[in-house]
Amino acid sequence: MTMTPFEIEEELKKCVKCGACMAVCPIYRQTGREDMVARGKLNLIELIKGSKELPAGWLEAVDYCLLCCSCEENCSKGVKITEIIAAARVQQTEIMGLNPIKKGVFALLKNRIISISRFVKLGSFGQWLLWQRLPRHSGLVRRLPLPGIDEKTVIPALPKRNLDDLLRKQRAAAGLQPILFFPGCATRYLHPQMGLDLIFVLEKLGFNAIVPPEFKCCGMVTWGAGDESTSAKLKQANLKVLHENAGIKQLVTGCASCGHALKDYDGRPQNCEILDISEFLFQHREKLEDLLGKRKLRQKITYHDPCHLRKGQGVSKEPRWLLNLIAGENFIEMRHPERCCGAGGTFGITHKELSRKILKEKTLAADATGAGIVASGCPGCILQLTEGAVVAESDWQAEHPITLLANLLHQTEPEER
């Protein structure tokens, strides 16, 4: 997964310092600082390559990256910028070790000391002491002043039952075709309902979602943080599951980042196609159109491209086809739907102020459409957008397209007039 020093050197040579990355970097757009845009970061990485001493400025520049891939998508030389940044972060953790908070979180992902599912369950009892429900959105905000957390910071509500618990009680109908479903940590432990929605839609299309409980975190967040050994372990565990289920031809996920990570796994079974749920639905468009019939969303809706879906996987048409299908003319594009929302894995937590500035542009663009729903196929984006709506007191809610689709399919079809 991580590039070798030689590969990095070759990539760095490709940069001609044209500055095109400045057009799209969310961090540069806010700061105007050239050390915080890809061109500058690559310059810094080249400057101190191989060095055992990492200057403070270098560390800051390498830290100021959302891994949103915007620069990479816009780079005429095709420099693999995000991989270079990730490799630089590996270099950093090798020399300086991992930040203790990240270390703790990643230990959970590996099921060390305490399993992530038990951690979430304990949290689901304790959370009400400090946090309270948002009136109109899913998610929680603090009850009392807490250090480092303002009154508009939204965290996900921890559910009592995770997706694995809920699935234990379900039994698939007969005659369905098996398909692998990779829920990802957010869906599995934080928004299990979204997982159920996705499974419900698959069933309606004649597929039985297989969700092996052995699936681990996809490794995207640990990779982005420079924790190479954890990423490798998670990848190996997931590859093992994929090979054990090699007879199943397709795998779907509803999480943009998981899809991006899985598609990049080297050594995965050749015959297993990995698809974002929107890509899968597009493959079955005729059946889905029949199923939906005349059911349409009556609310105005707009769409935010998750970076790891559009720029990471090159998927931007399929979600739009889906929203056109479920909302018709009520689907309105916002200005610059491709711009990052500022979440960027843990960036939104570690760089709150800057993340909020990036988010503000996004919420303004969503507000301008007059939509009541902002759809986005990424749990990270949904959480960040929800916080954006809370901060700006906007009238819309952030939802996953699959939730909207499942809700429509649950409704009875309107009578012909």
Partner: protein, 465 residues
């Protein structure tokens, strides 16, 4: 920690912080300041420090402090220039204007935008577009280059054929002299002949005369529609005649771009349509304006070239238009496959001289035994000449250097100029006296001296040091 900051930079930092600058506006760290030492020419020279003022008073504070300490100032926009205009010296301060990026006013009644220099050109176009207005200059870097950089380099783009270059849209400026005093040039009046036209003097001055802090830009009503066509011809001469014929027959395209046969061959396999084998030169023509007029002109274009062109495609919708432009967009990465390096010049010649210059360049290519790829703006005579080579091969590098000398000689011989849109900067200053006679250069130097007597503002640019 101490070794990371130069003592003088530390002293200046303390003074600026006392004056209200915040940490993120000062890049003094020896590692980070390297990010302000280069531009798109890939030269590199680290400044003493880089400063990012947020308003004109902070610009003034910096200029006064630099005057007090007798330091050089290097103004900088996005650092995307192609002639080294933003390259600092080791004892100089980079004045990065990227945080002065407010659109101060869009005056719909007078059709004038007032902006700070750090506004990105593409962002301004998007913003005025919301009011049904249009800022035409379209340098290739418009998505990231700044208005300030565009003005000081007098940047142009494909639309120059019909609309002109950045300078044609600058109505007025506010700027600070090197000593921190402010001057005002121009106004919102369409007719304005009171005194010397300092606005025009500062446009294209490459940051050597004053630091621009406010810009008044003329806007136009947005064109109703635009239509793109692609025409292929059997020779450069045939294509040049075609350009001539368009103007003669009162077709008024906003853009006429051309690709020579090297360019065509580089992108041919990536195009979504088939180009005839015999195609030697391709023209991309865009016509914009009111619906009826565009339709009429497009019809004329088809009638005029239905026999002479080897291929004529009209884009029917936005996606077809995008497909035709692909040929041009794919070009830069595609020609990179011809050789590892390129020396890129942006000469401009009178329209009628294009075929002669292109044929002379082909001869030169044979002479120095290196491919020379030409493409660019056939409608305004601005040709991007790319000598393709491997700079690591000393023999090729020497032939390339000789080639550049000859390219400039061919250009000037044809009544052309060293640079159509990139500026002289430090990359072409050695050739400056080939274009202008000594008295003319002395007059230009006298102007420089009147603005900047101690040569502290962007020294080493335009004139050789």
């Amino acid at each position: 920690m101490d070794k990371l900051i130069d003592p003088l930079a530390r002293q200046l930092t303390a003074r600026l912080k006392d004056a209200g600058f915040r940490s993120e506006q000062i890049v003094a760290d020896k590692v980070l300041r390297t990010c302000y030492g280069y531009d798109a020419t890939r030269q590199s020279s680290d400044p003493l420090l880089a400063l990012l003022p947020e308003n004109e008073l902070q610009v003034q504070t910096i200029l006064r402090l630099a005057t007090e300490k007798n330091l050089k100032i290097f103004p900088r926009g996005a650092g995307s220039g192609m002639s080294g205009g933003a390259i600092p010296s080791a004892d100089g301060i980079i004045l990065s204007l990227t945080r002065m990026r407010r659109i101060l006013e869009i005056d719909e009644d007078n059709m004038i935008a007032t902006v700070e220099p750090g506004v990105v050109t593409g962002d301004l176009q998007e913003e005025v577009g919301k009011f049904g207005l249009f800022y035409p200059p379209d340098p290739a870097s418009l998505a990231f280059s700044t208005i300030g950089g565009n003005v000081t380099e007098n940047a142009g783009g494909p639309r120059a054929v019909k609309y002109g270059v950045t300078g044609n849209f600058v109505m007025g400026l506010e700027a600070y002299l090197i000593n921190g005093e402010k001057i005002t040039c121009g106004n919102k009046c369409i007719k304005s002949v009171s005194g010397y036209d300092l606005t025009s003097l500062l446009v294209g001055s490459e940051g050597t005369l004053a630091v621009i802090t406010k810009i008044l830009l003329k806007l136009l009503p947005a064109p109703e529609t635009a239509k793109t066509s692609l025409l292929a011809f059997s020779s450069m001469t045939a294509a040049a005649h075609a350009v001539n014929a368009m103007f003669k027959y009162q077709i008024n395209p906003s853009t006429i771009e051309f690709l020579d046969h090297h360019s065509i061959n580089a992108v041919r396999s990536e195009l979504p349509f088939a180009l005839p084998e015999a195609a030697d030169t391709v023209l991309l023509v865009e016509i914009d304006g009111p619906e009826a007029q565009v339709k009429n002109q497009s019809k004329k274009l088809n009638e005029l070239f239905k026999n002479d062109a080897l291929l004529l495609i009209d884009a029917k919708d936005e996606s077809e238009r995008e497909q035709l432009w692909l040929a041009r967009r794919k070009l830069s990465p595609a020609i990179a496959n011809i050789a590892p390096h390129k020396i890129n010049e942006d000469i401009a010649v009178p329209l009628a001289a294009i075929p002669e210059v292109i044929s002379n360049l082909e001869e030169l290519s044979r002479e120095i035994n290196l491919p020379i790829v030409c493409f660019g703006h056939a409608g305004d005579g601005n040709i991007h000449v790319n000598v393709m080579l491997d700079k690591n091969d000393p023999d090729q590098a020497e032939r390339g250097r000789k080639g550049i000398d000859k390219i400039f000689a061919i250009t000037l011989e044809a009544g052309g100029t060293l640079s159509g849109e990139h500026g002289i900067g430090n990359t072409k200053s050695a050739y400056f006296d080939k274009e202008w006679d000594p008295v003319t250069i002395a007059t230009m130097r006298a102007v420089k001296k009147a603005f900047d007597p101690d040569n502290r503002l962007n020294p080493g640019k335009i004139f050789p040091l």
